[in-house]
Amino acid sequence: MIPVIGGLAINLALGLAFVSIILHFFYLRNGDGRLFLSGQRAALTVSLLSILATLILTQLLVTSNFDVDYVAHYTSLETPFIYKITALWAGQSGSLLFWLFTLSVYALITIFQNQQSQHKIMPWVMIVMTTVQLFFLILINFVANPFMPTEADFVVANGLGLNPLLQNATMAIHPPMLYLGYVGFTVPFAFSIAAMAQRDMNALWMRTVRQWLLFVWLMLSIGIILGGWWAYQELGWGGYWAWDPVENASFMPWLTGTALLHSIIIQEKKNMLKVWNMALIIITFTLCIFGTFLTRSGVMSSVHSFTASSLGPIFLSFVFLIMIVSFTLLYYRKTFLRSEKRIESFTSRESGFLFNNVVFIVMCFAVFWGTIFPVISEAVRGTKITVGAPFFNQVNIPIGLILLLLTGVGPLLVWRRTSNQSFIRNFTTPIVMGLITALVFYVLKIRGYVLVSFSLSAFVLTTIGFEFFRGIRSRMTTQKENPFIAFWRLIRKNRSRYGGYIVHVGIVLMFIGFTGHSFDSEKEFGLKKGDSEHLSGYSFTLYNIREEERPNHYAYIADMVVADASSGKSIVKLHPEKRIYFHRNPNPDRRQPHSELDIYSTMKQDIYSIFNSIDLENEVAYLKIMINPLVNWVWYGSYLFVLGTLVALWPPRKEKS
């Protein structure tokens, strides 16, 4: 009975979405307020019904109602409670419903926040948002319905269970975060289309859009970082980023979104670049839909390997529809958006932002090119060329280093034109610091990109340090504050600027971490009890192999002691595991092995151990050890990154004046 209600809810939502859009259009034509009110109520109901449908599916998952195909496919009776809930976004139809759910929550917030204040453009905002909802409702109703009954002529006693790879705390929150970001870009997009359609772009609009952008960008960033973290902890290949199509899919809107966050500052402060910003919002939103398409259509298969399905053509048509409609509108509004001001000088902050934008877009294009290259090469040359991580690294490392350089240069440039004196005053010390770093690494015989990356990091950190130093010093003299209060108030008085700097410091730390990748080393070997192996000055001794049965799996555990090879001093014990999930299943094909890693992590490096396989007959454990320098810097950098964004996002206290 309950699945039927779920199905009805999405049917009804589909119909009402249509009605709502039509009512809004009629209101725009004849201005009858009752039409607007009905349209809004219909839109509200669409969102509420979508949320209801999601709650129903969750309830079905939690109560293991195997009459529903989705529940039988992604959960089993043994699946722990929390993963029964996360199974909501484990499969195709569920994740589409989850997309809709997220969008509906955003739609409700948008309605309640802006109904009064943005009354003029709200009809258009609702038309755009409801159209996106409509698209997903069509998919859920006709292509991938999560409420489909199980197709079996017997009563299903137990479900297939959730992929053990997905049974991980990070994996439980990575997709929702990513979705909050992906889906969230719908809101600024809707506001932009509405502003263009109504020719109304006021200061309040600016503030709303900027806050939304920053928030959804943060969610997308956290989603991407968690994805990398999950891959590192769980997948066992020792890395956090593989340039996999699905990863690229989330990285592309992040790049354009980041560009937008910068260039929108120019619009806010100087009322310039409006056409460009509109184009960026359109591109970013399109990339979000395109990203969902890449993950969900099976066009590109990857570690995320989702099935091929009929979703592809529908998604692509929607992507093209968005592009055509939005860019046509942009074309007809170009006079409305045109600005009287021009960029005056190369050495202005405006031009710094613009170059930053160009580099971000170019990087996005490079990623896009590599991602779709296999498809293009097959269409043009008839051979399918797969593009591996080395290609993406080769292309993107230099572009990334330019971005790193701009991170340091941009903030020190002055609006309109930077004078020579201020240029010299601001840049001398940072350049000297960069050069000293370069010299040190040169002497240490560390060269190439690594040298450039570390030197630029030193340069950027010095410029940011100086900014804080100058700000604090001036408060100390003018306000007579002690350094700590000055530091605190400096940030509080100008949240977006200093929040931005904190984000930049986080990015630099992440770059240092990325650079550590070039010092990675690894070794695979088999060990009997009591045997040792060496790698990078460490010895690895296997002192025991244990077996343990746990509620949902069976584990073999390799107990290893890591010691300094020269002094023999013990450093840490590592216990990587080889687990067999569904180990009680009578059919051996249904049992699934899984390697659980053990990582010893310090600021200097990670010692990463994987239990590859076990030869039970000869009692040999096959292990892989990786020494990954500076990986922790990536994670610490991302904490700062998130902190900085939160500082910028925190609503300012109401000023008295």
Partner: protein
């Protein structure tokens, strides 16, 4: 407008000029990197087993298929080394692989391999399994296996 005498030196044009310059340089860079891969693994041709056997490729290639039932044999001397048969449609290819075997590597698993084809034996150095298909629909058999679905 900037009060410059020459149209070319007009600041707006200068600006567009600089930005177009950046874009041209980068497009050239991407094009150059596409035709001069830094690493043999950067750009690899994806073939079907049929194409590999018929055309006798000697360069590094990537293949997809199923592990033939009962074909996995572990090396007696080296546990990390194994031999198996890759099946795609009607074609079967003997494969030798040394290295860590992924968790899902077993009879009937969908795999992607990368390496070189030498004297009738495919020497693979990369072996990846596709996520277990039992988590999305039912396992497919060798006949209905479709290369296009695993490709890339």
């Amino acid at each position: 407008m900037a009060g410059s005498s020459s149209i070319l030196m007009n600041s707006k044009n200068k600006f567009y000029f600089a930005i177009s310059g950046v874009i041209v340089v980068v497009i050239f860079w991407i094009w150059w990197a596409s035709s001069n891969p830094a690493d043999e693994q950067a750009l690899v041709t994806f073939l079907s087993v049929e194409e590999l056997i018929d055309d006798d490729h000697s360069d590094r290639v990537r293949l997809g298929g199923l592990v033939a039932e009962g074909s996995i044999e572990l090396d007696n001397n080296n546990y990390m080394s194994c031999q198996f048969e890759l099946q795609e449609g009607d074609y079967v290819l003997p494969v030798h692989y040394t290295g860590a075997r992924p968790d899902l590597f077993k009879d009937g698993a969908e795999v992607i391999i990368e390496g070189m084809y030498v004297n009738g034996l495919f020497e693979a150095d990369i072996l990846q399994t596709k996520c277990a298909s039992r988590y999305e629909g039912d396992l497919r058999d060798a006949d209905s296996y479709n290369l296009d679905e695993v490709s890339i």
